[in-house]
């Protein structure tokens, strides 16, 4: 029993990364209609940025959680203005080509600058150690990751449902043309939304830095699972992205525990089942934000 509980906590902690990053992917897809294949690279950049900030400026995780998303937001704005904005009127094939090409460039640049072996990272003291509750070992940092991501997801959800900005973004997601005809300058939101999605991926990267290998390639496999998450949740669905993120984390953990060889395949089996039963994902487009 305690083992099951432990697997669940580990699964949810791993799911936190998926949930945060998938949330960014969903927001971007919703408003821009762009499937951002560079999301794994942005996640990697977040982790690398955290490692570099710690190494050069002695900025600990606490600062990185604040600073890196801001940097990534700015980076996202630049990428949107320079590159992504030209995609909006083009065939979706081009968005695959562009964002995928961008991934290759970013990964190679990081390899050139920081090598392939990875970068070191140390947790601040306050997050080291573990709680031992009735035989369940709960590493502090895993709990922190879990709570932090849930808080961020909740904040995003509240913003989307309770604020005027959220209302506008939901409208722009559902029918951008009508929103424009109703007097809303949808174009003004495109770059910030892209930047925000990139910032979320970067934030997931910062959280991953202390217990994942920080290498240029760290986003590659992550991105593959991320797309399974988004398909399971429903492309463009915010709630779907978060729920599916945690779900995939759990599937991964219990897969590792009870069918180790199939741990990763299970995720794609789940994806296939969802596509068969609900092609639009667990939370299809129209229920995007309810």
């Amino acid at each position: 029993m305690s083992a099951v509980l432990q697997y669940a906590v580990q699964g949810l902690a791993a799911g936190s990364f998926y949930a945060l990053a998938a949330l960014g992917l969903a927001v971007i897809f919703g408003v821009l209609g762009v499937v951002n294949f560079a999301h794994g690279a942005f996640y990697m950049l977040g982790a690398v940025a955290a490692a570099v900030l710690l190494d050069t400026l002695d900025l600990t995780l606490w600062w990185s959680l604040l600073v890196v998303p801001v940097l990534m937001f700015g980076f996202g704005l630049v990428v949107e203005r320079l590159l992504v904005q030209w995609l909006l009127r083009l065939d979706p094939l081009y968005n695959l080509l562009l964002t995928f090409g961008l991934t290759l460039i970013l990964v190679e640049l990081v390899k050139q600058r920081y090598g392939v072996s990875g970068l070191p990272y140390q947790l601040p003291g306050g997050l080291q150690g573990r709680f031992d509750v009735a035989g369940v070992v709960l590493p502090r940092y895993q709990l922190f990751v879990l709570l932090f991501s849930v808080a961020v997801c909740a904040l995003v959800w509240l913003t989307m449902t309770r604020t005027r900005i959220g209302m506008i973004l939901r409208a722009a997601t559902e029918n951008p043309e009508l929103a424009r005809a109703l007097g809303i300058n949808v174009g003004r939101w495109v770059a910030p939304v892209f930047g925000f999605g990139v910032a979320l991926a970067g934030l997931a990267g910062v959280l991953a830095a202390p217990f994942r290998a920080i290498t240029a390639d760290m986003g590659n496999n992550f991105a593959i699972i991320l797309f399974a998450v988004v398909v399971i949740g429903g492309l463009g669905s915010i709630v779907g992205a978060v729920v599916a993120g945690f779900l995939v984390g759990l599937v991964e953990a219990f897969g590792q525990a009870y069918a180790p060889t199939f741990a990763q395949i299970l995720i794609f089996v789940l994806m296939a089942l969802v596509i068969l039963i609900r092609p639009a994902g667990l939370f299809g487009r129209q229920e995007a934000t309810t």
């Binding site: 209302m167 939901r170 559902e174 009508l178 005809a181 007097g183 809303i184």
Partner: protein
Amino acid sequence: MLEVTGLSAWYGQARALHEVDVRVDEGEVVSLAGRNGAGKTTLVRCLIGLHQQASGTVRLHGRDITGLPAHSRARAGMGWVQDDRGIYASLTVEENLLLPPTVSDRAWTLARVYETFPVLAERRKAPGSTLSGGEQQMLAIARVLRTGARLLLMDEPSEGLAPVIVSRIAAIIRDIKATGAGVLLIEQNVKFAATVADRHYLLSQGRIVETLDNDEFRRREGDLLKYLGI
């Protein structure tokens, strides 16, 4: 109020509108009738600013808005009631009402909207997806009124609705007219158009072929029905 001169529109090589002139004055309801494919929807999309491949000028309150993007036209006072009502399924009734910015001091308050459309008040927290067709139409009209738009482009407001609701909508259009706003009514339902409009344009193959006042329009109702293929 609305002055359209020499409006032409294309889809690639195919020309959809030929030098169309349309005029709507303050406190006037003007209908635009024509068969399917005559160019009604294209005309509306040109006016709203959603169809780019076009030439000619569009003036609103004497101001040339031809080069403005859609959202600026809306802010200049153009209100669109879409033919499929364009209600946001993921927004509540109230959010649908609050979504567009107010554009003039004639804007209705939420209280006035709810007073005029009690059914919307009852369902203010319901998602847009749960409304009936009639309720959606009410909401689409109310949404535009709340912005204070001075020119309403109403695309097929009576389509698919029960007679009792159609007459309710007719009453609302007369109320709007009474406030001094202009309405361009895209309508195939000749009987309905005759009950609310002052003037009528007949659109055929992208051209305005006739302009009729309401008396003449009523007189030729039978002809027109045949002509419109209804």
